[in-house]
């Protein structure tokens, strides 16, 4: 009796595992299917188109001329291309470290349940993100005008000399960086905030059971787990800084002296000049560069684990 039922049971169970096994194996395909469909049509196709374009000289009409690696060699030997990467590199240094520190501090403060006015702060950090950039650029020009701007007026009160915020190569980058920081720091705050809050409660509970103190928990749970989020934010903002286009477009048009021609803006220039092949090549070089940087940051941050 028992053996029969046990055997019967195990057969049924095996059958069930087989079907659930099948279900389990097919599940991921079903889950990614809608995404892959959209992705193939609207992302992979343009991507391959662009890849092919990067080896041609095409100005938009008629047949494209196959030029091999010509667009790439032109860019790699062009001082303007390297200059744009250099500009973006400096902007990265001016933006990403500051943004991360500020965002982490703000997110940690905002995630404290006892802090009053949290709602106000959170909405406040979102506001710049939804304010149209063209409107903001107007005030930037007014604030940072050399002779009559508010910022230099304040510096004057403090007895400091005027600064050519928008007119000198040296200062235009910080001024642009400030606009970018203003616009996007809220974005990083949200990422860090949800990174902080999706830390699994089990871990704290387990640590509690093991008798770990709160500060010990911070060091052994919060900080290591936040590292993934930080890594993620660094990668995203690296992308954003190198692709940055709208901010210099509305504020400086890449000037003065091309000092704010970012990698993204340089790319845009090729495209508006209908040099679509060079634009495509430029974007792939940018993808490789950013991917290399991302891998580097991922390694760097992972190594400390």
């Amino acid at each position: 009796m028992t053996t029969v039922s046990a055997a019967h049971h195990s057969v049924a169970r095996r059958r069930r595992t087989r079907t659930t096994g099948l279900r389990r194996r097919s599940a991921p395909y079903l889950f990614v299917l809608p995404f892959v469909a959209v992705f193939l049509v609207f992302s992979v196709y343009p991507l391959i188109f662009t890849a092919r374009l990067s080896f041609t000289n095409w100005r938009g009409t008629g047949a494209a001329q196959w030029v091999g690696w010509d667009n790439y060699t032109y860019l790699l030997t062009s001082s303007a291309f390297w200059g744009s990467l250099g500009n973006s590199g400096v902007l990265w240094l001016l933006i990403v470290p500051i943004q991360l520190v500020v965002a982490i501090v703000v997110a940690v403060l905002l995630s404290s349940a006892t802090l009053k006015l949290r709602g106000l702060y959170r909405v406040g950090f979102i506001v710049p993100f939804v304010t149209p950039l063209v409107a903001v650029a107007q005030i930037w020009v007014v604030l940072f005008d050399q002779e009559y701007g508010a910022v230099n007026a304040l510096l004057g009160l403090a007895g400091l000399p005027d600064v050519g915020w928008l007119t000198t190569s040296a200062w235009a980058k910080p001024t642009l960086a400030l606009l970018f920081l203003w616009k996007t720091t809220g974005f990083v705050v949200i990422i860090v905030l949800s990174g902080l809050q999706s830390i699994d409660a089990d871990l704290y509970e387990a640590a509690e059971l093991d008798g770990a103190s709160k500060s010990r928990q911070l060091l052994s749970i919060t900080v290591p787990l936040l590292r993934r989020t930080v890594m993620f934010a660094v990668v995203l903002q690296t992308l954003a800084v190198f692709q940055m286009f709208a901010e210099p477009f509305v504020l400086t048009q890449g000037g003065p002296y091309n000092s704010t021609t970012t990698a993204g803006y340089h790319l845009y220039n090729h495209i508006t000049r209908a040099d679509l092949g060079t634009g495509a090549a430029n974007s792939f070089l940018l993808v490789f560069l950013v991917m290399g940087l991302s891998l580097f940051f991922v390694r760097l941050l992972r190594a400390k684990d």
């Binding site: 959209v38 709602g119 063209v134 949200i190 990174g195 089990d202």
Partner: protein, 305 residues
């Protein structure tokens, strides 16, 4: 059975304080926090306040004396002119339609695909994910020509489909959600499966509740990204009938961005500021509502000090 419920309960139970702060020092810390956050908030909001107030100034004063505000000279002319020139109502409708559909598609399919990437192994996984990363790093501007060619052959130019579908399952959303879901402990999922929960059921009943903070963050960022997007909409929404808010703003702003200082420089600036203020309000309201019902409830609710 008990294993799963316990795990799920634990997961849904508030996470430990993500910012563990000694209770003794909390009060003092909060004062410092408020000062810091308030200063930051003032810096973030000042340009927006300037834009909001300036929209009520006579057009010439905005350009001539941008930093003053004379309450006796308050005017609604800019709003009147703006509403006359800009079909704002239709663009609101369009933005809302795009926001709702594109947002819904992203919010459902991106986490689902991300779940497959994070918690399953399947054929082609790395390749597809690699492609996702490449699209994420690819500047949108180079993809416009192939995408538009595609829309043309589909007969989708100037339609809602064209505004909604491309980029609807956004690479960023997948990248981020994969990150978030990877942090969900495998034991939770295994326990659910032992209890006979289907693959999709596990996603819906186990994963989604655990990653709610991440989802809330994604919702905010998705809304902001869709709302702010203009590079693609400007190109594909070719008629006033389909124009989104950002398309309207960029059409309006073209006379003052770059070097275009036309004879209507002052009036356009004024109308742009008025339009920006009007465009900002619904989104602010939305976030305040979300803040109450959504961010507060889920984000903050999961954290207890």
């Amino acid at each position: 059975m008990t294993g799963t419920t316990a795990a799920m309960k634990q997961a849904q139970r508030p996470a430990a304080d993500a910012a563990p702060v000694g209770r003794r020092r909390r009060r003092r810390r909060h004062l410092g926090s408020h000062v810091f956050l308030m200063l930051l908030l003032a810096a973030l909001l000042a340009p927006v306040v300037w834009a909001l107030l300036s929209a009520f100034k006579p057009a010439n004063d905005i350009v001539r004396s941008p930093l003053t505000f004379d309450p006796s000279a308050v005017t609604f002319d800019n709003y009147a002119a703006m509403f006359q020139d800009v079909p704002l109502g239709q663009s609101f409708v369009n933005t809302t339609v795009v926001l709702v559909f594109k947002g819904a598609i992203t919010m459902f399919f991106a986490p689902l695909a991300a779940y497959a990437f994070a918690k399953y192994r399947f054929v082609g996984q790395n390749l597809i994910f690699g492609a996702v990363l490449v699209t994420l790093m690819m500047p949108t501007i180079v993809l416009i020509v192939p995408l538009l060619l595609q829309m043309k052959s589909l007969g989708w130019v100037d339609t809602y489909q064209a505004l909604i579908l491309p980029g609807s399952v956004d690479a960023f959303a997948i990248f981020w959600m994969r990150q978030v879901i990877a942090a969900v402990p495998d034991e939770l999922l295994d326990a659910a499966r032992v209890d006979g929960s289907g693959e999709f059921g596990t996603f819906l009943r186990v994963v989604v509740p655990v990653i709610r903070p991440g989802l809330a963050g994604l919702a905010v960022l998705t809304i902001m990204n869709i709302y702010n997007d203009f590079v693609w909409p400007v190109v594909v929404a070719s008629s006033e009938r389909m124009a989104t808010l950002q398309v309207m703003l960029s059409t309006l702003a073209q006379n003052i961005t770059g070097n275009r200082i036309g004879a209507d420089y002052a009036t356009v600036t004024a109308e742009l500021l008025a339009a920006s203020s009007v465009a900002l309000v619904p989104l602010l309201v939305l976030f305040i509502v979300l803040q109450r019902h959504f961010i507060n409830g889920i984000l903050a609710g999961s954290v207890k000090g």
